[in-house]
Symmetry: C2
């Protein structure tokens, strides 16, 4: 099944089930994260679909909000694509490089990304893994069983801020700059060990392409590893890293301009399309 | 005024106002973070104290919970004490080194700190700044006016995990390892530019001593800087960095042992006293 968080009105959202290509069946939960917090979420959605008495919104009439607007944890992995690491002449890491961001970073699949005060806005197309149950010091098998599903994300990064210090957080945690969506596709729709094709475009030009089959630390391994030090809960999300082709790695470096269209797609899940808006001079922080 | 979050029963807490040295006046909010989310929190507490019809719990009968158990953001600054940076032969930084953790890291002022799977647990005595109002791209003056108050913290760090990769997050984000308390002392009790004496002890031996007057980035500057990229809200907390004397910096390095007592004190605020408990071999993550 495919689950989405739809905007209704100005400040409200609802969870919904994608019904074919036609539309969304509204579910009585404010967003997908709250839905996943129900231990019976699968049965709950199945029953709602079978009853068929909920409103169906045509896909064209629905606006997608951030999939998990209230995620407790948004944990990201860097340096995770083996082919990209090896082509850069580096050795494969023994441990995942992890950093944290907050749910304030998240926006919807079609939202514009409004950046204040950065002049080097870069792209990082990524597979997002959504947690479906509580994990504390879990094994890989326990972690695999707790994956609710997958979504598409782009860990849009403000490289000037990221490179001001050794810690990446400040360049990664700008509010409303990380699109997450368009839907969560439940894990049962993919065979174990399935590799996802991840692609990113800028104004229609393909700039990134990788397959999560080459991840050094796959989804279950990442969730297990993180759960050794912090509890993961339903609705938390882990971004699995980005393949080669980011703007910072080009010669000369290339960054996003005001008005650019950033597209991110994963086969079997869907596509994000976000316009970049860059606002300068507003802040007093630098 | 001094505000605390007290444990009542197994899984419940309440905000409270410290009344002299005698006890705590219970306030109708589940914790200090929720209290600060009321725009009228100061008037609310003042009115409750004046009414005097709430229960007063003797200090000896109250157990302190993490001051802000549901903080939306716990943002930490590293490398911030000028005297320590200069004595290490480094240059003063142009920008604060920031990293994030989650509220799951927080414990109360007298709680034991249960560490699973680390063999190099280190101390970092710190002043915590508690946010009292929403800040988005705020000036230093706006940030100063939005400081609710100050508390004591210890950014207990698992150095083995911290040094596995370039990003510190995984060594800093262990659940239930960051004591925060014992109380929030409101900002009006300190003059502008006040420097706090920060001290840390291990089993009664003084191991750290600094004064926040030597911070490169003071409380208001840090809040303003962070608010340029992410919104800070009432109940969020910023840890301002630690002075010299951490275990990792000693020759040879020195780490905490199972059973050690870690004490952290700031003049005018109070003292944390936490026993370290180290559990090995439980995890599968390494």
């Amino acid at each position: 099944m495919k689950l989405a968080t739809l905007r209704i009105g100005e400040n409200s959202t609802t969870a919904a089930l994608a019904v074919g290509t036609d539309g969304y069946l509204l579910l009585s939960a404010p967003n997908v994260g709250d839905l996943l917090a129900r231990p019976d979420w699968k049965a709950f959605v199945t029953a709602a679909a079978a009853a068929g008495d909920s409103a169906v919104v045509p896909a064209g009439a629905a606006t997608l909000a951030a999939l998990l607007p209230t995620a407790g944890k948004v944990i990201c992995c860097g340096l995770n694509y083996a082919d990209h690491i090896l082509e850069m002449g580096r050795e494969l890491p023994d441990y995942p490089t992890l950093f944290a961001k907050y749910a304030d970073t998240l926006v919807g699949a079609g939202d514009s990304i409004e950046v204040h005060g950065s002049e080097s806005v870069d792209w990082e197309a990524e597979l997002a893994v959504v947690v479906g149950a509580t994990l504390t010091r879990a094994s890989d098998d326990e972690a695999a069983a707790a994956i609710a599903g997958y979504a598409v994300s782009n860990d849009v990064s403000m490289r000037d801020w990221q490179n001001r210090t050794l810690q990446w957080f400040q360049g990664k945690a700008f509010d409303a700059t990380t699109p997450l969506g368009p839907v969560l596709v439940t894990a049962d729709e993919f065979p174990a060990g399935h590799g996802f094709e991840v692609r990113g475009w800028v104004n229609g030009e393909l700039v990134q392409h990788g397959n999560t089959g080459t991840l050094v630390f796959g989804p279950a391994r990442l969730l297990s590893y993180i759960s050794q030090f912090t509890t993961l809960r339903a609705g938390d999300v882990v971004l699995t890293g980005t393949p080669g082709g980011v703007g910072m790695g080009r010669k000369p470096p290339r960054f996003l301009n005001d008005g650019d269209i950033l597209s991110t797609e994963i086969d079997g899940i869907g596509r994000l399309e976000n316009q970049i808006r860059i606002h300068q001079g507003a802040g007093t922080g630098h």
